[in-house]
Every structure is written in structure tokens, then in C-alpha cells.
């Protein structure tokens, strides 16, 4: 009796495993090394991004120094250009909310918008504030500088006057310095950590558990796309989460002409990480894309990059000033959102299923 069962079982298994190798890819070992993927992310993306962010912020401080030495519209426009350059790098850094960045909650000090103008004004008026306070997350970072460089007065001359002849000029200057210093400090700490021990922690933590670096980073990557790019830059201002559009909630609202290009920058950052492109370079390494390919999900990988391209085309068709775009032709902006939305499904449903990322849920029996 026993023998018969065993024989039957063996025959069936052997029969099937032989026939199965005829169709479909056979005998593949897992030749995808996740550590290589993590190393590519760490060495060719995270490290250079934070180094660049730090450098750009130091440049911003230097430019603001020269403006203070020789305050005029020329030096001031250099400050604003430097601010925009740093803001663009931020779009890349925002993906890496892991390790030190997560610990320091870096987003809170870099890019909570819309800025609360009353808080900024009040902080400057009183001269006493703590940028670590949770009340002031929306009164610092790039959005606060956006307001202080572009929106604090009606004309450029008046804005420059705030830092020169205004009764409170010293406080205005101090506030800008403090905001830059806060960002620089955080960027430096994160950069140092990547250049220190964290790099190896990150690369070696390639298992499939809820807390492993790979799983966390995949989740961060998707969160950045869904929340920071899709929702914050488009969904909220176009009115997809409210009854009416809220164009004043666009990124870089006061600078006006940069909101679209910052979004494009963010999309480039996402695409770069997905396809494993080195930051600021053209070479590519192991990535989510090559990982999907190794799982025979070529179609999915292509769909995702195609969808990024469709979104890019749609965003490119918008006015550089998203505030204006939403006010004049919101339909066009809604279409950009819809294109971004389509990739969310591909990333969140299809890619996560392919990776079978472990998430910290409770017991499951798979149903």
C-alpha cells in the first residue's frame, strides 16, 4: 500500500518535471544578484545625489553671501538660479528616504508645501524659532526660500529691499541662512552616512523581509512616485482630491515658471532609478528593470518605461507654470495626472507582485 503511493507520487513528479522542462525556461538558477542592484543604487545614485545636493546647497549659501556683500538684482538672480539648481537635485534625493534620511525625516526640512507664509513672516518678525519644531515643517526648506526669493514682495526690487533696507533686513537674511544651514546640515549627515558604514549595511541587507533594504527601498521608490510626484505635484493642485482645483498648491508656487520642470526632473529621477542609470551619467547598471527582466517580465518592464514616457510627453505639453495651466486649461493637467496614474498600477500591483515583496502584515494563508 505504502509502496504504491510512493511509487505513484514519484512517477507523477518525475513525469511532470521532465515534461515541464520542455516548455518554459528550464533549470534557471537565480542569477540576479540583488546586492549588485543595491550597490548600483548606493554607489551610482544615492552617494552622488547627496554629494551633489550638499554641493548645490553650499553654492546657494555662497551665492547668498555674495548677494549680501553686493546686494543688487544681478547677484540676487544668481541666488535664485542656485536655489533652482539645488531644488532640481532635491527631486532625485527625495527617492532615498532610507537610512539617515528616514531617521532625520529629511522631507520635513526640505520640501513641505505649500509654505505657511504667516509662520515664515512671524518667525522673521520675532527672530526666535526652532526649525526642528513640527510646527515649522511648512515654514522652511525650498518652499520657504521660494516665498522669500520670489513672493515676499511684489517686485524684484522690493524683494531685494527686504534684505537690504527693510527694518527687519537682518532677520530676513538670518532666516534664509538658517533655512539653508538646516538643509545643508541634513544633506551632509546623509551624505556622510552613505560614505560611511551605511553603504555596506544597505548593500548587504538584500533579503526578502519587511525590513530588508531592498524591500524598504522598493516601497520608498513607489511612495515617492505615488505621493510626491503624482499626488503632490499634480493630483492635489489639479483638484483630484478636492471638489475644486487648488492651483495655489503647486510646487514652487512663487517662482511660477519652474513647477512643470521640477515635476519633469522628478520623473527623470524615477525613471533613472527604475532603469539603473547612474546619477548625472549615461551608464546603466542592475536595476528594477533588469530584475524584472530576470523574472521573465520583459513586457512589464517595457510597459513601465513606456508609461513614464507617455507621462513625460503629456507633462511636456503643459505650460511651464502649472498654476497658470490649471487656471486656464485644467483638462490638460488632469490628463498628465492620468498618465502618471497608469504607472502607479504597474508599479504597485504588477511590479510588487513580480518581486513578491514581503510586507509586515499578519498571518496569511494566501487568500
Amino acid at each position: 500500500m505504502i509502496k504504491r503511493y510512493i511509487a505513484l507520487l514519484t512517477v507523477l513528479i518525475v513525469a511532470f518535471s521532465c515534461s515541464s522542462s520542455d516548455n518554459g525556461p528550464s533549470g534557471n538558477t537565480d542569477n540576479f544578484d540583488r546586492s549588485t542592484l543595491l550597490a548600483n543604487i548606493a554607489d551610482n545614485m544615492a552617494k552622488p545625489v547627496f554629494a551633489d545636493l550638499k554641493a548645490k546647497l553650499e553654492d546657494l549659501k555662497a551665492k547668498f553671501d555674495s548677494f549680501n556683500t553686493t546686494p543688487n538684482t544681478l547677484t540676487f538672480s544668481e541666488v535664485k538660479t542656485s536655489w533652482y539648481e539645488a531644488y532640481k537635485v532635491w527631486q532625485y534625493a527625495a527617492i532615498f528616504e532610507i537610512g539617515k534620511a528616514e531617521e532625520l525625516q529629511f522631507v520635513n526640512h526640505f520640501n513641505i508645501y505649500p509654505v505657511t507664509v504667516a509662520d515664515v513672516d512671524n518667525n522673521i518678525a520675532t527672530g526666535t524659532y526652532d526649525l526642528n519644531s513640527t510646527n515649522f515643517h511648512d515654514a522652511q526648506g525650498f518652499p520657504a526660500l521660494d516665498y522669500l526669493f520670489f513672493g515676499v514682495a511684489a517686485t524684484e526690487a522690493d524683494i531685494v529691499a527686504k534684505y537690504t533696507t527693510d527694518a527687519n533686513a537682518a532677520n530676513y537674511r538670518k532666516y534664509v541662512y538658517d533655512v539653508i544651514a538646516k538643509m545643508t546640515d541634513i544633506a551632509t549627515q546623509i551624505s556622510d552616512d552613505w560614505n560611511g558604514s551605511y553603504r555596506n549595511d544597505f548593500v548587504s541587507n538584500s533579503g526578502n523581509t519587511a525590513t530588508s533594504a531592498l524591500n524598504k527601498f522598493v516601497n520608498d521608490f513607489i511612495f515617492n512616485y505615488e505621493k510626491r510626484l503624482r499626488a503632490n505635484k499634480f493630483g492635489i493642485p489639479v483638484g483630484n482630491f478636492s471638489t475644486t482645483p487648488l492651483p495655489e498648491k503647486v510646487e514652487a508656487f512663487y517662482a511660477k515658471q519652474y513647477s512643470r520642470d521640477l515635476a519633469l526632473e522628478s520623473l527623470s529621477a524615477v525613471n533613472g532609478v527604475f532603469s539603473g542609470r547612474a546619477y548625472g551619467g549615461t551608464t546603466s547598471g542592475a536595476s528594477f528593470q533588469t530584475y524584472l527582466n530576470s523574472l521573465d517580465k520583459f513586457n512589464l518592464a517595457t510597459s513601465i518605461t513606456n508609461q513614464f514616457e507617455s507621462a513625460r510627453t503629456q507633462i511636456n505639453s503643459l505650460s511651464p507654470n502649472l498654476y497658470e495651466q490649471i487656471n486656464t486649461n485644467n483638462q490638460q493637467a488632469l490628463m498628465a495626472y492620468d498618465e502618471l496614474q497608469k504607472a502607479v498600477v504597474l508599479l504597485k500591483v504588477d511590479m510588487l507582485q513580480a518581486f513578491n515583496i514581503s510586507v509586515d502584515f499578519v498571518d496569511a494563508d494566501g487568500d
Binding site: 500500500m1 505504502i2 503511493y5 510512493i6 505513484l8 507520487l9 507523477l12 513528479i13 511532470f16 518535471s17 515541464s20 522542462s21 518554459g24 525556461p25 528550464s26 533549470g27 534557471n28 538558477t29 537565480d30 540583488r34 538584500s206 533579503g207 526578502n208 523581509t209 530588508s212 499626488a231 493630483g235 483638484g239 483630484n240 482630491f241 478636492s242 471638489t243 475644486t244 523574472l295 513586457n299 512589464l300 510597459s303 496614474q341 502607479v344 498600477v345 504597474l346 504597485k348 500591483v349 504588477d350 510588487l352 507582485q353 513580480a354 518581486f355 513578491n356 515583496i357 514581503s358 510586507v359 502584515f361 499578519v362 498571518d363 496569511a364 494563508d365 494566501g366 487568500d367
Partner: protein, 451 residues
Amino acid sequence: MYFKSYIEKKVSAAPLAFFRVAFGVLMCLSIIRFWYNGWIEKLYILPKFFFSFYGFEWVKPFGNLTYLLFVFCGLAAFLVAIGYKYRIAIISFFLSFTYIELMDKTTYLNHYYFVSLVSFLMIFLPANATFSVDSYLKKIEFNKIPKWTIDSIKFMLGIVYFYAGLAKLNSDWLFRAQPLKIWLLSKYDLPFIGNNLMQQDWFHFAMSWSGAIYDLCIPFLLLFKRTRVIGFVLVVVFHVFTRILFPIGMFPYIMIVATMIFFEPSFHEKVISFLKEKFTLLNYKVQSKEVFQYKSNTVPKLIGVFILIQLLFPWRYLLYPGELFWTEEGYRFSWRVMLMEKAGYSNFKIVDGKTKQFFYVDNKDFLTSFQEKQMSFQPDFILEYAHYLGDHFTKDGHQNVEVYVESYVALNGRPSKLYIDPKVDLYKQKESFKHKDWILPFNDEIKIKGL
């Protein structure tokens, strides 16, 4: 005639007593583990909204008092284990445990359903006949009980395995090795076997096929004396293996211990006398009555009906059109375990029916991530949540509220597809046992064929 003689057959009371103790102890541990993991708070206190089973909308957690419910349930399990006031204890356990499982269907697991059924069955069984505080206090114990009482538990276990096996006889499981392929591929981080064995195509198929054959054969292997040992060895190996691979909690242990009821009574008698030797406290002497007798045949008949229902209930999916794995109509309560890797994304749109103004909902405002995950690919969840959102925004002062969903679902490695008709106002749809015609048909090129 056969029925009558079968009903009167008697057998040692030890296996059922052993089962009672083991079941009680494991249940008590499960409750403690649940609490210890912080799941009472996470699953039943923190969420703002709970998904109800149709007809059980009145079953809700009690806020912080929910802890008391778990205390009550754990105590009842303990009393079942020691066999004190057994009938009251097992009724209390059945009611409290089932209540807990009905509070939020997000947490539905087949093994919880199994526990509810077994504890219901045990209400009618003389599991305290021997080796129990009850028998000590009444100073009477029964050495023999009707054979059918033990058989009913064996039958329940047999159904679980056999039906789980039948459910695996489908083309996805057998010919695509799905969903095991997805799951095993992702176990690359297991020591020794993760990076080689787990990645082999043949291994995924071998696991799928042996899993199906295993489920179908186990009840019979355990039933016959000659194959019992190999059957039990397979049970242990299989469940330990699944425990390593998947986060399935206490289920493997419960099944390993429960299948011991198939052993010869001499085994359970030995265990009990061993325990009595080791712990003098248990070594009480009472008057020993030979046979436990039911006063009438009502109970065995009732159990017969119960078993019949168990045999038929999992087939109810045949009454629904469409692909079972896609619509999930008749999917639960049918021993369909680990059959699907299904994930979804459901984006709800609140529309003013008059002005056509709309906005999207951030699910995180209302659901926990676990609830959102479960909701995203199950139509009854989607409908219930749509109604919740409709009520919420109506109460918030929105006019002419209509609720639509853009839902995409991926099943067993297929590309994600539109799941729910995005043009249907779900706020106007009612929950019922009828087919939900707003679920879009499963139209992937790779069909699922099978039982």
C-alpha cells in the same frame, strides 16, 4: 440498520480527551500570541472602519473592551483544556472566537474558520468524559464513548485536506505552478536552498503537484493503519516546510497536533498515563463507568446534517457565473488555501451626480494598509467600502453622492486588468448573495480551468 449499529459502536475515550487538551492549549496559546504581537490593537482597535460579513454587520469590536473579549476567549480555551465546566467552556469559546473572526473579514483565514467549526462540533462531543476536572469533580469517568464522536473530528480534518487538494486541481496550480512560482522565487534569501533549489522551474512544479497529491491523499493515509505512520510523517514534513516558507502562524502546529487524533487509542492512553505518572496532581482516582451514552439519537443526527452541509457548502461557487478566482464569489469557507497571488489597486472617485464634479479618495484616510491591501482585490470589500465612503461624504455635506472605482487586479502573475466596471455607481449597488454583474469578466488569454 447500518446507521444504528455504527451509532452504537464504542471506542476508547482517550483520543477525544487528548484532542480536547491539545486543542484547548493551542487555542489559548494562539490568543496569547495574538495579543503579544499587538494584533488586537492593530487589527481591532486602531482601524476606523471594519469590513463585515454579509448578515453580520452588527458584529463590531468594542473599542478597548475588545481586550476583555480576548481574555474571555483565552480563559474559555484554558477551561476546555483542563475540562472544567466543559460544556459552558466550549460554548463560550465557540461564541467568542467566532465573534472575533466576524468583527472584520479583512483577517479572514481558513484556519480560523476551521477552529470555529471544530469548536462548534465539540459542543456536542463528550470530550470531558475522561482526564478532565469535570470527571474528577463528579467522581465519574467514562472509558468508552461512541465511535462516531471521534470520527466526526476525523471527518472534519479529512474535508479540510481533501477539499484543499481538490481546489488545487486547476490549470494555474498544475500547469503554470502558480502562485507557488512567484512565492518560491522570492525566497532567494533562505539559507542553502534559497539561491538554487527555490529558483528551479522543476521544483515549482514538483511542489505544486506533490502539494495537490499530498492534500488529496493525507486523509486516507491517516485513516488506514498500515499507512498511518507515513501519513503522519508527511503531515509533519509538509507543515514544517510551509511554516518555514510562509507566514501562516499557528496553523501548521494546529494541524500537526489535530491529525494525531487518527492514531490508535493506545497512543493517547499511553500519553495520558504518562502525564498522570509525571504529575501526581493529574493522577486522580474516580469511579470508572464503562460507556458514555447519548440520551437520544438527536445529537448524532444533528452532526450528520452538519457534516452534510460541510460537504456541500464549498461547491456553492458552481452557482455563480464567471471565474471563481477572479470574482471570489463562493471562494471563502471552502478550504481554498494558498491558491492565489492576487493584488489590486482600487482608486475611489466621489462624484456629484448633478454637477459631475468629482474628487478621488485617499484610502489611507479610512483604512489601514492591511485593510487596503485586502479591499483592493475583493469585490465584496470594494462594495462595502464604497458604501462607507458614500455615507461618509453624504454626511459631510456633499450632494448627490455617487461612488465609482478604478480598480486594477493582477492574478497569479498575469498583467493587471481593469477589475470593476468604472461606470457603475457602486453606491447604488446592494450587497447580496447574487452574482455581482459589475465585476468585469476575467478575460486574460491564460484561462483557469479546473475544479
